[in-house]
């Protein structure tokens, strides 16, 4: 597994850059991960989604899909794509330091 450094701390990520151990994530890491994803500044709306992602992961063991985000995070799917243009579920999961959402089969 590759490792990378955020906020001076070494963390393990998978081949696509998702955290393998969400416990290693701290809030100050989010800005740097966001910039790597092409998001210069994290607004309150971004943070609402990021916190929702972590809460969902804690309860369910996987990050939510974009449809669930649109229904339950308080941010519509349209706005989610404005906040995270490269795909809200994956990008927000990466910034929130949780593994890649399993999605659906």
């Amino acid at each position: 597994m590759p490792t990378t450094t955020y906020d001076g701390t070494s963390v393990t990520v998978d081949e696509e850059g998702f955290f393998t151990d969400p416990g290693r994530w701290t809030e100050p890491m989010a800005d740097q991960i966001a910039r790597e994803q092409g998001i210069e500044t994290l607004t309150d709306r971004h943070w609402q989604v990021i916190k929702f992602m972590r809460a969902e992961y804690t309860v369910k063991g996987t990050g939510p899909t974009v449809r669930v985000l649109g229904k339950a995070s308080g941010v519509s799917v349209k706005e989610l794509y404005q906040l995270f243009p490269k795909g809200p579920a994956k990008t927000a999961a990466k910034i929130a330091g949780i593994p890649k959402p399993r999605g659906c089969i």
Binding site: R102, G103, I105
Partner: protein, 413 residues
Amino acid sequence: MDKRIVILGSGTAGTLTANRLRRLYGESECRITVVDQNDDHVYQPGLLFVPFGLAQPHTLVRSRPRQLHDGIAYQRAEIDRVDLDAQKAHLGGGSSLDYDVLVVATGATLLPEETEGLTGPDWEEKVFTFYDLPGAVGLHHALEHFDGGRVVVNVADLPIKCPVAPLEFAFLADWYFQRTGIRDRVELTYVTPLDGAFTKPVASKALSGLLEEKGIELVTEFTLGEVDGPGGRLISYDEREVPYDLAVVVPLHGGAEYVGRSPGLGDELGFVRVDQHTLQHPDHPGVFAIGDAAGLPASKAGSVAHFEGEVLAHNIGRFLAGQPLDASYDGHTNCFIETGFHKALLIDFNYDTEPLPGHFPAAVGLPLLKESHANHLGKLAFEWLYWHSLLPGRELPGIGSAMPEGGKNHVHA
């Protein structure tokens, strides 16, 4: 004991559960009541063939109550809501059913109106779904009059029933247009929210290869945001566009509507939260879900309901006897994928093992992840097995609930 088992839904999962329970437990042990809002049981795997004139719509529909064994009560009613604390299912017309065990088997519902523009003026004119019988029939007429142009097959977003069906539709469309002699005038495109043709890497690679061989363009990571009917375009949330002359869209799916009116029963999409191995609700031990209605990390497919059925019927008996649940569903799924020209491929997988090449159910058997005429015959034979083995709740010869490991070749994508 005289326990009351209420099964909501009389599709594949509800019917086979009722029949399995009736066989396992005597009428003095439990009363079984099945509820559905209409009496028409549709053989859903047949819907794929209707648009191409390969199945006659009326042959796919049979009576729901007639699929149930003697000693099972059937009630036709709308379901209003479930009161989990009172252990009561409220039905339309003000009646209700008290239960000791509730089985939610009301499947998945199509939600085309949730996508902007999908049910606009082009709906059932140039934009179709084959996921219900009227839609499949409408698409059949449209294909008969189609003389060339851009045909787009799109999955709006997951989860959907039978995730391989849209791929099969694309393969059969290629065959159909060759047979009608206009393939050179048809541009076929497969548009998916996934990052490949399928969810799992080895199968995704094989199926992408088949699309390419058949000259079907693949557009990935496209989550349908809007259908622009007048402009003839599908538009994704990230503002990419795919033009069409004829669009075949698999709409968003959700659980049955009453699930949303029953606090604590379902998740955000209306699917019922249950343990992925025991099929029991985490907060209400007398509540179980099976088939498409269950919010599991498994495909929404008839084979899943069949393999779950054995586990569920056993666990319900254990629960009613006050014993710990000891049967475990492993995520086993088995799908024939029709690829046109009288061939099909077969995939077999579970929660832990992705679809792999090899043979099923053992080293000597049907080829896995590889086109063959034998698999096509298997797919056709399945219709008889569905009505005469699967729904009555019988085991299929040589195929158990647990996924067979022998015969599979572990390879990497």
